[in-house]
Symmetry: C2
Subunit: 362 residues, 2 copies
């Protein structure tokens, strides 16, 4: 267990009156213990107690090498894992429950009286995961550095006559070549009409043609941490209309980044992008939130949206990705960078240019 | 909704004193409604009430075409879906909960007092899914017919010098060619030492050599229903020892199938296989249960194991798959067929031969 992270969790538990907690989400468990265990339908539970009597319930089918830094309780398929777990909990104290814990386990723990009251405890870890430590920041930087390279290598392929799906597959190959474990999410590599629809899924028929915008929204996973960047490029030529839209989106992205600083609210970053796009008359074409937190998972808790009034803290990492999508005209532009909040603003993790790129036809 | 299936569920609910129930598992919902909705982190809930006041809570992000035969309650991301759901439930009656429902929803429903008592209600649907109706039986037959063909096409590749992973990929291709949606599970295509370890995962280095046994445990999904069959073949030649083991496993498989009939218990099928293998002196090398139920998912509720004393009913569908694995000798043999229980015994869904096959080296 990473006792640095666990102590932050225990402190928040005390502050919120949650005496004990069950962590189940495999990614939250990885965050705290460095162990990736996918339990399938079986019980998995990291039990944390503010008094330090932590236990880690693992099925014998998932043997772990080395010292986990926490007392492991092994159980097998013919045992009642929750019943065993219930012997270690404090039955007269509030119990925090992982929001993802399946009902089969929670109902059984309730039946056994494993707590005085059961509450959703996931916010505690979600808020801690939002703020990256130095090691995590370094991993986020490295992951995004690779993303810059993949973007550079991918762009020439937009004029190779590939379908969206073929371009996506090329993108996946590039992450593999760069030593990534995989992609952070299904890459979006969409031409014109597809780019103009933020809900479009890459298809196996559309190919790029002269004048098309191409949205490349891509990210990889390197050493468990995700990257996520979007650039929009053009094939052969760019219309005045598309160029106007491009410049507005870049400026919105820059304004969002400028608003990303400690003490501001997440909604202020959204407003910085949205107000500018509205001012330019394209407000109704910016149809999604401005961004999302990111780390071990591409989408983590903490939206950059108009309704999130949470105060931004040093160490948070999130995306700033305004866009304008005009379906009728087949124009879609999105520009996205990741930022890490610093003492006086933010560090932008992507250095790939935002200058307008027109890729010459071959 | 398939009112035939729903009425079986409602009858069981009445018998078990579960007045109302929330179904969440996407495969259980597909079973009852014919709709596949993967809600991700969002609320999905098919609310069933013995009085007939059924509701289907779906997020607006997952639009459904046509009439669902049930009152749909649409909600969106800025609404509290569980709070809306709680307005329809009977707060003074027992509430059955899907075993897979995430705690975030259950805790909220409990907070809102959405039932007099909360119990795990999944067994009701699990037991109903165990017994296939005529339409399901036909789909299971068709899926297994394809599996017979894939097995025949796959076997020649065991002498093509492929690694286990390459042989697996070939297998996946064959299901695609046959019009399957995918595989029922990661195919097992293991040579010798890998075959002798039932927990072995296909690797990227092992290739077949003369005298090797090759376990092919494969299945595809056709029109939503799963197949699953195992055959063990040999490369070039077979030792007397391996042949002896092969014959024992085939006989055990046949005895298991003979024991699969209405009125017997699931454990009787297991015993029919296990007793014979023990009698032949290989008991300690048969290290797993004899089989599992199958249908929309490869592994459904209802094991063929020594501890399952449930009485077998007409219409059940499960696998009979005894095996003998001797790690030291690199010999592993498993033979598996699917059966559907009939009035007086069972129908075997696989017709691929169990005669010993030695594939000539090329």
């Amino acid at each position: 267990m990473d006792m640095n992270k666990v102590s932050r969790v225990l402190k928040a538990m005390e502050e919120q009156g949650i005496h004990q907690m069950i962590v189940y989400d495999p990614m939250a468990i990885f965050f705290l213990t460095g162990r990736k265990i996918n339990p399938g339908e079986r019980l998995l539970a990291l039990y944390l107690n503010v008094n330090g009597n932590h236990k880690f319930m693992i099925n014998e089918l998932f043997p772990q090498e080395g010292d986990l830094g926490v007392d492991v309780i092994w159980y097998n398929d013919i045992e009642d894992g929750v019943q065993i777990l219930s012997q270690y909990v404090e039955k007269d104290k509030v119990m925090g429950i992982d929001k993802t814990w399946p009902a089969r386990f929670l109902l059984r723990l309730q039946e056994l009286g494993g707590g005085s009251k059961f509450v959703n405890g996931s916010m505690i870890i979600d808020y801690i995961r939002m703020v990256k430590d130095e090691n995590e920041k370094e991993l986020m930087r490295k992951s995004s550095q690779i993303n810059d390279v993949v973007m550079e290598k991918l762009i020439p392929y937009v004029v190779k006559g590939l379908t969206e799906k073929e371009l996506e597959n090329k993108c996946r190959e590039l992450y593999k070549e760069m030593g990534c474990e995989g992609v952070s999410f299904d890459p979006i590599t969409a031409y014109a009409k597809g780019a103009a629809d933020p809900h479009h899924a890459n298809d196996t028929v559309s190919k790029g043609k002269r004048g098309d915008c191409v949205i490349l929204d891509i990210g990889g996973i390197k050493d468990n941490y995700c990257s996520d960047m979007t650039r929009t490029v053009f094939i052969g030529e760019v219309s005045d209309r598309a160029k106007e839209i491009y410049d507005i989106v870049v400026e919105a992205n820059m304004r969002g980044i400028a608003a990303a600083k400690p003490g501001a609210r997440m909604c202020d970053v959204d407003a910085a992008c949205r107000d500018y796009i509205e001012e330019k008359g394209f407000g109704k074409y910016f149809t999604h939130r401005t961004g999302h937190s990111i780390g071990l998972e591409d989408h983590e808790f903490g939206d950059v949206s108009s309704v999130n009034e949470d105060i931004i803290k040093v160490g948070q990492c999130f995306s700033v990705e305004p866009g304008i999508y005009i379906a009728d005209e087949g124009i879609g532009v999105r520009i996205e960078d990741l930022v890490i909040i610093t003492e006086d603003g933010c560090e932008v993790l992507n250095s790939f240019t935002k200058d307008l790129i027109v890729v010459p036809e071959e």
